[in-house]
Symmetry: C2
Subunit: 270 residues, 2 copies
């Protein structure tokens, strides 16, 4: 593997939410090259059928493997929920995903063995978090709640807005919140709502940010398999999208926590 150490980490998402994972990777692994793929022409996946999501995920996996990545990170909870097996079956490099990472961090954090999951309807309906959590510890109780308005609220930039607070209070009704001591932010958009959500659920609740946890998992994996990039020069970051949507620069910068650089657009046939 050592000859591949300079290869990129391939990170992909249905849109630009996965840039929160790129941001966390940059912080955890400041010398690693990263290639990001956002399927902005077909976003959002959260409302699509399982069959469609699986077919799109396979297409993106093949695209990144052609680019010679050394590690794949599924930075999209919807794809991780319904297509991680398909990605793994096509991949000759290790595959990490936000659901597995979030589940591990939540099980480690929950003292009452009672975990809440919030995400898009597809992620929640897939029950993928509950499966991952129970594979680690089948005594844990899992409660989940779909929050379909959080993504558009983040994209509107209403990160500290009364409408968002009211929406969060509605989704995170006391009965849901009181049942759990650890809440997984099961969507890559949600880290931007972390301060508001912490305020709504109270300071005692542990919030698991799956962007940060998957970045920590990537760092461990590169360490244990001696796959670190040994170069100590500034790494290169490549951003590939399938479309340049409206407000792309604004949104990208918000997720990435820095200026959004030049991106390459590729168009899939059809």
């Amino acid at each position: 593997m050592s000859e591949n150490r300079g290869h990129s980490i391939g990170v992909f998402d249905s849109g630009i939410g996965g840039l929160t994972v790129v941001k966390a990777l940059m912080e955890h692994l400041p010398f690693e090259n990263i290639t990001y793929f956002g399927d902005t022409a077909r976003v959002p996946y959260g409302v699509k059928s399982v069959e469609t999501i699986q077919s799109f995920s396979a297409q993106i996996t093949d695209f990144l493997l052609d680019r010679q990545v050394k590690l794949l990170v599924i930075a999209c909870n919807t794809m991780a929920a319904v297509a991680s097996d398909i990605v793994k079956s096509r991949s000759n490099v290790p595959v990490l995903d936000v659901i597995d990472a979030g589940a591990r961090a939540a099980v480690a954090a929950s003292q009452r063995q009672s975990i809440g999951i919030i995400g898009t309807p597809t992620t929640v309906n897939s029950n993928a978090y509950a499966r991952s959590i129970h594979a680690l510890d089948n005594r844990v109780r899992v409660y989940s709640q779909a929050c379909p308005l959080f993504v558009p609220l983040v994209e509107e930039g209403w990160l500290d807005h009364e409408v968002t607070r009211l929406t969060a209070q509605e989704y995170l009704k006391p009965v849901f919140v009181e049942s759990v001591d650890t809440l997984v932010l099961g969507c890559t958009h949600y880290p931007l709502l972390k301060p508001l959500l912490q305020e709504v659920v109270g300071a005692k609740m542990t919030l698991i940010d799956s962007a940060r946890t998957v970045a920590a998992q990537a760092a461990e994996l590169l360490q244990s398999r001696q796959m670190y990039n040994e170069q100590r020069c500034p790494p290169s970051y490549h951003y590939v999208v399938t479309d340049i949507p409206l407000r792309f620069q604004t949104l990208g910068s918000r997720f990435l926590g820095r200026d959004m650089p030049q991106v390459q657009v590729v168009r899939f046939a059809g």
Copy 2:
């Protein structure tokens, strides 16, 4: 044209919002056959680039023309805003669209010649309503406001919810509302918010529902060109989508105002 009178009216949208237009057509033209096409695998168009929207619109136009429709109705403000010329250039049958219909109705209704437009960011940024309105009467003042959260709020079913009311108050700030006497609901999802919006803007404001106005325009066109279906038996309704997303039946029924029937799924290559 008389031999084509039994052909369907082809109605299309990026998703299922255009079913509000189908509902209005059923009410205005109860003997007409209708074929609906919803591009549910690629919804929403509102955040995509103009180039992508045009390419998708052309593909759908060709699909419906192959099915021998006698009239095309663009039931999607985003497509009408940026792709109506492309649809017309490919079509050998008349083409109506929600923007032209809404603009005509608004110009006829506004007494102070001052019209407000609300819609998705793409529709508003395209400035298509202002162009259509000024082509009819260049003295009219047009004010517009993008309301990106209204579509997800409708899809969440929060049609009479405090969050939706607060969001509407934020978008329809007094300064916007006080400038106009007529407000165009420039998105096929918005008719479902009509009661709440009327409450927020006050009873004196005329709300233009472009689903109803385009249906009225279709009725006039069929009348003037003697293209009415002369059969007096129950018409057939066909629904074609590119994907069956989550909660499709629930949402479809809400837009259509009746049970959502069987739908056919077609998949475009790619």
